[in-house]
Amino acid sequence: MKVTKLKKKSMNKTLNQGLFIVGVMILWELVARAQWFPVLLFPSLSSVFVNLLTELVNGEIGGRLLFSLYLIGAGLGLAVVTAAVTATSALISPIISDWVQALMAVLHPLPGIAVLPIIILWLGTGPQSIIAVIWFSSIWPLITNLHTGLRSVPATQMEAGRNLGLKGIALIRFILLPGAFPYILTGLRVAWARAWQASVAAEMVFGASGGEGGLGWFIYKKRFFMEIPSVFGGMIVIILVGLLVERLCFEWVEVRTIRRWGMTSE
């Protein structure tokens, strides 16, 4: 009985939120149609969607999206590997641990996009620079969470593992990693969001000079030609991808892992 009540409550919440979004969309359409603002700068939502549909059909936006996902995949992938190596070394050596903490304290507050100018000088204005910025933006939340997560594993679980003859890599793989998984998942979530931000921002800085680009470049280019409905279209695609990844990837994993294991704070 309690469960159904809770379900009902969360259903109400979802409904409430859905209605709110729909309301905002209707309001947008009405305001745009009333033409209080220049149509060029504030297009109606329907024209945005019509435009989006054409760009979806002709493959333009799909190509840009794939390119963005490729950049993010590469940057995030590199960041995960670097973070894993760093956090593991920090685990093994207290000296490295101190260094990592110093690095985190110094570099974490620096927004990824702030290193772009120097990266352009070093690596040029190609995809490699964007990947580098994504890497720099997403590595700190990954290291921080991994570092904290590995230390959050109860000492008794470690000893239970050692008692079974586990040591070194096996102890990390079988006990530390699953034990740190709640933190790892949080780290990935934050890193994913940061990676998106970084990729869109970076592409806007040298979008005009690069030939190929992702969604950030798409938005930038469309603004350049004053195709404002497409600018909004690009934003909507970014939002949808964000939502989809959250729901289909992160939540899917969360339900099957840390929620099932009772390792969430809820």
Partner: protein, 282 residues
């Protein structure tokens, strides 16, 4: 005094810590012999090093001097011939089910080759601790008592020679505790495993042990070894039970004022040290 059924021998074991340049003799000159299949209880005040001794036997810590020998082989580190059951409910792996915890133990120790066999053996041990039917639950869905049962099953599943128990029932309510004590005796008789059981509960020590080793603190030393020949099941109401109780109580109770103060000081130091060592990770 060498005989064939000596399972574990502890020879002149010292364990010294340094806590902020202070030398602490956690254990001093410990000599003990444990026979195969015996149920040994270690009892003592907090800070007497009884847990440290258990951790030395488990191989988690190295003695400063002396040695621990299991069937004449010196212990160098942890091993599945000595399985530990901790007081902490967190000793189970939360990402495995109840069955999965035991299957994992059997798998990583390479005890059993096939998955099917591992499952069967895991089920056998779960049944032994009275948890048949709970195989697919996750640790967070269990009560404290059930978690300790799983921990016992997991430890026994790899067929250790010695079961080391570090106040395993210390965080349980009185009812669950006494049920588990009874069951532990049944399991001990069934498996014939040697058990070394640390407690600070006098009653628990008398109900369980064949031998009760009374420790004193600061430095941690064996004060007296009491043979407990009461017939099982042992009831606290029995006359001879209370005689042993009084004796242990007296042994533990002898503390002069200076010692009490010293101990308190040490506990405070330990706590401060703990807080300090946490700092870099925050």
């Amino acid at each position: 005094m060498v005989s064939n059924n000596e399972e574990l021998v502890i020879e002149n074991l010292d364990k010294t810590y340094y806590l902020r340049e202070r030398r602490i003799n956690a254990l001093e000159r410990i000599n003990l012999q444990v026979k195969t299949g015996e149920f040994i209880n270690i009892i003592g005040p907090s800070g007497c090093g009884k847990s440290t001794l258990l951790r030395c036997i488990a191989g988690f810590e190295k003695p400063t001097n002396g040695r621990v020998k299991l069937r004449s082989n010196e212990i160098k580190g942890p091993g599945i011939d000595r399985m530990m059951v901790f007081q902490d409910f967190e000793q189970l792996f939360p990402w495995y089910t109840v069955l999965g915890n035991i299957v994992f133990a059997l798998k990583v120790t390479k005890m059993i080759a096939t998955a099917k066999e591992r499952k069967e053996i895991a089920k056998h041990y779960l049944k032994m601790v009275g948890l048949a039917g709970f195989e697919d639950l996750y640790p967070h869905q269990l009560s404290g008592g059930m978690k300790q049962r799983v921990a016992i099953a997991r430890a026994l599943s790899v067929q250790p020679r010695i079961l080391l128990m570090d106040e395993p029932f210390g965080s349980l309510d009185a009812m669950t505790r006494s049920t588990l004590q009874e069951e532990l005796i049944r399991i001990w008789k069934e498996t014939k495993v040697t058990i070394i059981f640390v407690t600070h509960n006098i009653e628990e020590a008398i109900i369980l042990g064949d031998q009760i080793i009374v420790f004193e603190a600061n430095p941690g030393r064996v004060k007296e070894v009491i043979k407990n020949t009461l017939s099982r099941p042992r009831s606290p109401e029995a006359n001879d039970f209370s005689q042993i109780w009084e004796r242990i109580h007296k042994l533990l109770g002898f503390k002069n004022r200076e010692r009490v103060l010293e101990e308190r000081n040490l506990i405070r130091l330990f706590q401060e040290e703990r807080e300090l060592s946490l700092l870099p990770h925050l």
